[in-house]
């Protein structure tokens, strides 16, 4: 790496039918940090994730990841380049087992052809063994080994959340985008999750962007925070700076003198 930011976003905008969901968003994300992305309902946080991962096409702006301009790429190509994400509403393969979910997540690392798959050639056997070993490691790491043959839809919600992050990591990304990872958890579970995220970051030398609603959670986790309101970046800084920024307080609590 040339020391430049891992993810560089400039002038990113997205309009839906004349309304700006995101306007002139920018980000220079250094490798190895955790960034928090917060803001009231409808601020455009998830839209930004969808733009970075290719699920939405930007109306304007540029997204450069590790020196490659990925603006307007298909989601699967972006995933191959090393960006993984989770979704606000869990997108697990509910009818499949925990093991299968992780194997699928590892998909982009298998390279054998259809012929090898149908005949069971050594190349296929070797790579499948690798997949199983890798999946075994992740199961172990996340404490999911004893659930490996359980259908995901029947797992308790907290474990599903955990598996979701495990699957994102099983793609072996350089950049991980988490969309409200603590959603639906109680404070204790959320604290465990924060712990887990820190461990994962260290172990896989990850860079993360986390969208969150739960303030204590994100304030404790992120090194820097961006605040969005109505699709516009209104503040950026350390958690402490952001918390005391009058513009942020106004966005969250409303303008006092508006009633007066």
């Amino acid at each position: 790496m040339d020391g430049g930011p891992l993810l560089q976003i400039e002038g990113l905008s997205k309009a839906f039918g004349g309304l700006w969901a995101v306007r002139d968003y920018r980000l220079a994300l250094p490798e190895g940090v955790i960034y928090g992305l917060i803001g009231p309902n409808g601020a455009g946080k998830t839209t930004i994730f969808n733009l970075i991962t290719g699920f939405l096409k930007p109306s304007g702006g540029r997204i450069v990841f590790a020196g490659t301009d990925i603006t307007g790429w298909r989601p699967d190509r972006i995933a191959h380049l090393g960006i993984a994400r989770t979704f606000q509403i869990l997108q697990l393969y509910r009818a499949l087992t925990v093991q299968m979910n992780l194997e699928i997540a590892h998909h982009k690392h298998t390279r054998y052809g259809l012929f090898s798959a149908l005949t069971g050639l050594p190349l296929y056997r070797r790579q499948e063994r690798e997949v199983r070993d890798r999946v075994g490691e992740f199961l172990e790491l996340f404490g999911l080994t004893r659930y490996r043959n359980v259908r995901v839809g029947t797992l308790p919600y907290g474990l599903q959340r955990k598996l979701d992050i495990a699957c994102a990591l099983a793609t072996e990304p350089r950049l991980l985008l988490l969309d409200e990872p603590s959603c639906g958890m109680n404070p204790r579970e959320a604290e465990e999750l924060a712990q887990l995220i820190r461990q994962m970051k260290a172990r896989f030398s990850l860079t993360l962007v986390v969208v969150e609603h739960r303030m204590p959670f994100i304030m404790g986790l992120a090194e820097r925070i961006q605040v969005l309101d109505h699709g516009v970046l209104i503040s950026e800084g350390t958690p402490e700076e952001v918390r005391n920024d009058p513009k942020v307080i106004e966005a969250y609590l409303g303008v006092e003198d508006a009633v007066a």
Binding site: T53, F55, R74, P75, D76, A79, H80, A84, R85, F87, Q91, L92, Y93, R94, A95, L96, T97, Q99, M100, E103, I104, A105, H107, K108, T110, Y112, L114, A117, L118, T119, G120, Y124, E128, V131, N149, R151, C167, T171
Partner: protein, 339 residues
């Protein structure tokens, strides 16, 4: 029991195949022609339903056009194997030189495979636009494809003899051909499911969004699933033609699709052997009920029973579509769920 489950998959598969052919051998030498006839039909429908299962059960694309691919396979194979001396009498086209020349009659196996390949090419052409649609739009568009195929089969009289159909097709299909193909079909799908290809298909069925986020290009695997499914549907069509010895366009229309959909749903969509179980139940039921229907002169009874079974499964086992229903669970490896 424990020892059985701990065996490697390949060994289990071979043992299963060995047992199957042992049973077939005994059946073939002891049972009467009528029963064997039923057993062969079960095999042909099993191939068709198993191939439908790949798209509808595993990849979650609810296609209703499968009978169209069967028609393509049946007609192509028939045209290739049709005896030279009968071609002129039947007003069927003589084969052009690149297909062996006007005096050439193809052997059964290559004719079947070419039939399957042409069906696969048709799937590629149709799939590229149709698979972009979602949910029931895909169902209706693929149904439209089937109507187009049967209409063509009726209309292209110089090739297909139109609505009159083709008769006197040589009877090549026997119990060994059918079950060998069934084994091949199940083998291919079983291998697929144990590879990244099949896993990608399951992923698309469960959540296309997540699949994309994990680097899977949905269209690629949807097409693959559709094309492989069509290939085996074409094989099933070819086997059917050389068993029934006559084909007409309307045989491959709505009712054919309907029957294999019932077999799939009753047997269990998204399970490896479910389609075979479903085919056995539905075909056997037909041969039990047919005499009743004819004896009492109540035409339509068989279909009414089928329809009631389908509605019953849908109302009381709705998870069946996504691959949950399986009345004979203990017989069937639930590939999508456990390994």
């Amino acid at each position: 029991m424990r020892r059985w489950t701990s065996l490697p998959g390949g060994v289990k598969f071979l043992i299963g195949v060995g047992l199957l052919f042992l049973v077939l051998f005994v059946a073939n030498s002891t049972l009467n022609r009528y029963v064997l006839h039923v057993i062969i039909l079960i095999g042909i429908y099993s191939v068709a339903t198993t191939s439908l299962n790949l798209t509808n059960g595993y990849t979650g694309l609810f296609s209703l056009g499968h009978a169209g691919f069967m028609a393509v396979g049946a007609y192509v194979a028939t045209l290739l194997t049709f005896p030279v001396r009968l071609r002129i009498a039947y007003n069927l086209p003589l084969l052009p030189h690149f297909l062996g020349g006007p005096d050439y009659q193809w052997p059964f196996l290559p004719a079947l495979i070419v039939g399957g390949l042409v069906a696969a090419v048709a799937a590629l052409l149709v799939g590229a636009p149709v698979l972009r649609l979602r949910g029931h739009y895909l169902s209706v568009a693929s149904l439209g494809f089937m109507v187009i195929i049967t209409t063509l089969a009726k209309g292209l009289k110089d090739l297909t003899r139109g609505a009159a159909g083709i008769q006197a097709i040589p009877r090549y299909t026997d119990i060994w051909w059918v079950y060998a193909w069934l084994v091949v079909t199940i083998y291919v799908i079983w291998r697929l499911l144990n590879s990244s290809y099949g896993r990608a298909m399951l992923a698309i069925r469960e959540s296309e969004t997540a699949a994309q986020a994990q680097g899977i290009h949905p269209m690629r695997y949807k097409l693959l699933s559709f094309v492989i499914g069509a290939f085996f549907a074409g094989i099933a069509g070819g086997l059917y033609a050389h068993f029934a010895r006559s084909i007409r366009p309307y045989e491959f229309s709505f009712y054919m699709t309907f029957h294999i959909v019932i077999m799939l749903i009753i047997g269990g969509a998204g399970t490896l052997l479910g389609p075979t179980v479903g085919a056995a139940i539905v075909v056997a039921l037909k041969y039990v009920l047919k005499p009743v229907e004819e004896g009492l002169g109540i035409y339509g009874l068989v279909e009414i029973v089928y329809a009631l079974m389908l509605i019953g499964v849908m109302l009381w086992r709705p998870e069946g579509i996504a691959g949950g229903v399986n009345p004979l669970r203990f017989l069937v490896a639930r590939k999508g769920e456990r390994r």
